[in-house]
């Protein structure tokens, strides 16, 4: 293949586990070009995981977005909000940081339930969009006794 800038290549919009990426190992001692499968890259992450996107702060009736991983929920009064459908496998983290009244969140599509009620500051949930069944709560947490956290209705 003739020399070509990466920007000139055709675009992939998703990757497969067998796809290859370019990696340089032993950078400090004997830098070596290597290929690595996407599977190996993702299944042996060498450091911690961080999400750089700016968290969304959603106050009262403001709908949590589906483009940020993390939404901080704030209420000044009892409120309701909706959550649009995501894409399969998508994670969404919600943390209720200021309790001015319950926040009742109604996903457009929700697996085995219709609402999540955040009643106490510190209530938090992780949702995963599992496909046609919609958003599934895969973790609930909150302050106080174990088992605290948002209520699924």
């Amino acid at each position: 293949m003739a020399d070509k800038k990466v920007t000139a290549l055709s675009a992939a919009t998703a990757s497969a586990t067998a796809d290859l990426a370019h990696i340089i190992t032993d950078v400090a001692t004997g830098a070596t070009n290597k290929k690595i499968t996407v599977a190996h890259f993702l299944t042996k992450i060498p450091g911690f995981i961080g999400f750089a996107d700016t968290p969304q702060t959603a106050t009262d009736e403001t709908e949590p977005n589906i483009t940020s991983l993390l939404t901080l929920l704030v209420t000044t009064t009892a409120s309701t909000a909706e959550l649009a459908n995501g894409i399969q496998g998508q994670l969404k983290v919600l943390v209720f940081i200021t309790d001015g009244g319950d926040q009742v969140l109604t996903p457009d599509t929700m697996n085995d339930g219709t609402t999540l009620t955040f009643a106490d500051a510190g209530d938090a949930a992780i949702l995963m969009y599992i496909g046609a069944s919609g958003w599934a709560p895969i973790s609930l947490a909150g302050p106080g006794t174990p088992g605290a956290g948002p209520t699924i209705g």
Binding site: A12, S15, L20, I49, V93, I97, G144
Partner: protein, 152 residues
């Protein structure tokens, strides 16, 4: 641009969703060089995610903020600490051996000050949400549903 080794390039220390990486697709049948945005790479992860690093922490003291997973062991009632992280960082703590309650005090914690791990198997996932500090986003433990570390 003249030919240059990748090690000679300027270093990026973070990425944006619009940045592009180099990917080779169709490896088994028809390998093809392609570009992929960082957003498309991370929004459509093709397999599971695994973490290579592991800290096994025995006894009192600070747990790591540079390794995602800490397996915690107590040999008596102990106190542990965790420093502030960076926004969006995940931390997983699993209490694997119960020799006494382990009380973890984050430097900054959202809506609470401590996590008390009282039973082997208690586990928590924290996310550093910014100025409010570490937020507990998952608690789990053996026994009845709702078991897990207590947030105090």
């Amino acid at each position: 641009m003249a030919d240059k080794k990748i090690t000679a390039l300027a270093a990026a220390t973070s990425t944006t969703t619009a940045d592009i990486a180099h990917l080779v697709t169709g490896v088994a049948t028809n390998p093809t060089n392609k570009k992929i945005t960082v957003a498309n790479f991370w929004n459509k992860i093709p397999g599971f995610i695994g973490l290579l690093g592991l800290e096994t922490k025995t006894g009192a003291g600070a747990i790591s903020v540079t390794v995602t997973l800490t397996n915690l062991i107590s040999e008596g009632v102990i106190a542990n600490q965790i420093a502030n992280g960076i926004q969006g960082q995940l931390k997983v703590i699993v209490f694997i051996t119960d020799g006494g309650t382990a009380t973890l005090t984050p430097a900054t914690m959202n809506d609470g000050t401590t996590l008390a791990f009282a039973d082997a198997g208690d586990a928590a996932m924290l996310m550093y949400i910014g100025a409010s500090g570490w937020a507990v986003i998952s608690q789990a433990g053996p026994g009845t549903p709702g078991a897990g570390p207590t947030v105090g």
